[in-house]
């Protein structure tokens, strides 16, 4: 099954955020509010546009997620990189992302 959520960058620091079920913005994708239909996706983007007008976030868009009852993760590798970060964590010199 495919679901959509809204992602954007936070205006103040540019960090990746997701629109939450309580109309806030979280760095955790788990909090993301999902849309199963085109109409629900349009409603999500309308809420996101209000956050743009309020100066909270920049450039919102829909991200397609795989939801097979287990892993809840973006379908596209670009979005997985946005979610998990660069492959190498400079602070530890260890692989950070879980992107294959």
């Amino acid at each position: 099954m495919k679901l959509d959520i809204v992602s954007a960058n936070r205006l103040s620091d540019g960090r990746v955020v997701y629109l939450t079920r309580d109309d806030g913005w979280s760095e955790s994708i788990i909090d993301g509010r999902t849309a199963a239909t085109k109409e629900e996706g349009t409603a999500l983007l309308a809420d996101a546009d209000r956050a743009v007008a309020d100066g909270i976030i920049v450039s919102p868009y829909l991200v397609s997620m795989a939801d097979d009852g287990g892993a809840f993760a973006p379908l596209h590798f670009r979005e997985r990189i946005r979610l998990f970060g660069p492959k190498t964590d400079r602070a530890t010199s260890q692989p950070a992302g879980r992107v294959a």
Partner: protein, 551 residues
């Protein structure tokens, strides 16, 4: 080194104050993102995948220890403790917060640094031979003219909204270490038949989706007339460069469409008019700027120094570093030391704050307080007394900066790719790390010999893949990262664009494919024949045959 005058100080501080106000207005909602975006880009601030990225200019790659320490401070205070040296001799910070940028820029301004014109459709930071002022094969120090171009082009009202970005590189040496032929304008200092020094002017080079080599439009331009001639080129481009299609907006497309002879004639005609009312730089002003680039106080007795040979014999690792990373200096008794930012399995061009401080200390101690950033994403200490090289190497080694791989396969150029960049179509850093790890044995690297391997994470080619002996271009195909190989590119005086060898490889297969290319070369090379010469002799067929034999 050049030091700001009152004008420089004033305008940089004014720009910080202006941008502080613009950021405040953005945060309060007075400015929309559409209104703010061009303003932040004019100050080198991009919004990337994970955060804001700030690109700080290092004019012609030259900086002092004081400036490097400030860059280290910026990394600690405003980022995650590191920076990334770019292929345009700049430094980028990847984890910047918009709210902190005005304070960051104010701290940069205190050490005569800024991020102006590191983005946007303007004349970008002028780049130069990273051995400028030191190279044994140098005709004249190009940085004097880089600085003159910097002053002329900074906030130039006529050239702040060009059809597209514009890059100028200058070299004063016989060997082209500045990749002149892949710049919008390449300037090569040279002699004419009368023995006078001037410029060969090349126009219309660039990489990106349509790679082209710059063509010479003037064999010899007197130095005194450089600015009026540059102004003429920019005027022709500004008038005729396409603004309707971003992919056809660079001057290389104009040169291609109207032909180099036509462009040269138009520039000469424009120059004829421009010179009428143009005030060339007064000789006094040229002399004033030249004084900033006067050679440091070398010890004339240094040529008689001894002890280096004993150190080489006593430490084989030092001997390898000396052979690979140290170049001849114009001053007897001195040498040029390249600090590789390509450790085994590392991220090309990355340097952490502690390393920046260490390099600043070593530059102060051993290189007259001067260092350079290279377009190959390394650093250089340009003026090291030979007898100090062993102590320098020990200091570098203590900070993980003594990798002896300059110019070898481990010395990879790589753009940030999709790990950071919002334009990227694939990652380049993990591929660079995997290749670096596969070829970690320095003895093997040395046996392979001179080999430039460049990786870009998209067609924009920030990783200079078109001019790598082996180039790798990361692309997306049906939601999966794929990597295309090009062979035969080079950025030196024999500049060439690499040819695509065949279908792309998966992320899992690309390292093995590179190894196949290298092994093919090893099998077929003649004694002492470098990779690029072997490729020129053999052509791509034997490589293609091996690469795709099992596919």
């Amino acid at each position: 080194m050049y030091r700001y005058d009152e004008f420089d100080h004033a305008f940089v501080h004014q720009r910080v104050a202006q941008f502080r106000d613009q950021v405040a207005r953005r945060l309060t909602g007075e400015l929309s993102e559409d209104e703010f975006k061009p303003l932040r880009l004019m100050n080198g601030l991009y919004l990337q995948l994970h955060a804001y990225m700030l690109r700080v200019a290092i004019p012609y790659g030259t900086l002092s220890s004081r400036q490097m320490r400030r860059l280290a401070h910026i990394a600690r205070r405003y980022d995650k403790g590191f920076g990334h040296i770019t292929t345009r001799q700049n430094i980028q910070y990847n984890w910047i917060q918009l709210t902190e940028v005005p304070d960051l820029l104010a701290e940069l301004a205190e050490v005569e640094m800024h991020a102006i014109q590191t983005s946007g459709n303007c004349i970008r930071n002028v780049t130069a031979d990273h051995f400028a002022g030191a190279a044994a094969d140098e005709i004249e120090d190009p940085r004097v003219w880089c600085e003159i171009i910097r002053q002329w082009s900074t906030l130039h009202p006529e050239f702040s909204f060009l059809p597209r970005k514009f890059k100028i590189a200058v070299s004063g040496a016989v060997s082209d270490r500045a990749a002149l032929r892949v710049h919008d304008i390449g300037l090569q200092l040279c002699h004419n038949d009368a023995g006078e020094i001037g410029f060969e002017v090349m126009v219309g080079g660039g990489q990106g989706r349509t790679p082209m080599l710059a063509k010479t439009i003037r064999e010899f331009l007197p130095k005194a007339e450089l600015l009026s001639y540059l102004e003429s080129i920019l005027r022709v481009y500004n008038q005729l460069g396409r603004r309707d299609n971003i992919y056809k907006a660079r001057i290389k497309i104009l040169v291609h469409e109207i032909g180099v002879e036509t462009l040269a004639k138009m520039v000469e005609a424009e120059w004829h008019q421009v010179r009428e009312g143009f005030t060339d730089l007064p000789q006094d002003e040229v002399a004033r700027i030249e004084r900033y680039f006067a050679p440091p106080p070398f010890d004339p007795a240094a040529g008689s120094d001894t002890g280096l040979d004993a150190a080489r014999r006593g430490d084989s690792a030092f001997d390898r570093w000396l052979e690979q990373n140290v170049d001849a200096h114009k001053q007897p008794g001195y040498a040029i030391a390249t600090i590789s930012l390509k450790p085994e399995g590392g991220v090309p061009g990355d340097i952490d704050a502690e390393q920046m401080d260490a390099v600043a200390d070593l530059a102060e101690r051993f290189s007259f307080d001067e260092l350079r950033a290279t377009h190959q994403q390394n650093l250089v200490l340009p003026h090291v007394r030979k007898r100090d090289l062993y102590a320098l190497w020990q200091g570098l080694k203590a900070h993980g900066l003594a990798t002896a791989n300059r110019g070898l396969i481990g010395d990879i150029i790589a753009c940030p790719g999709m790990d950071y960049c919002s334009l990227a179509t694939a990652r380049s850093i993990p591929v660079a790390q995997a290749i670096s790890t596969r070829f970690q044995d320095l003895a093997r690297q040395k046996d392979i010999g001179d080999l430039r391997l460049n990786i870009s994470g998209c067609i924009n080619a920030c990783g200079h893949h078109h001019v790598g002996h082996i180039g790798i271009l990361g692309l997306e195909k049906k939601g999966v990262e794929n990597y295309q190989i090009t062979l035969g590119g080079r950025a030196d005086g024999k500049a060439a664009i690499g040819a695509i060898i065949g279908p792309a490889f998966s992320a899992d297969d690309i390292v093995g494919a590179v190894e196949t290319v290298v092994d093919t070369y090893i099998d077929l090379r003649q004694t002492g024949e470098p990779f690029i010469d072997a490729y020129a002799r053999l052509g791509r067929e034997p490589f293609k045959e091996r690469l795709y034999a099992t596919h």
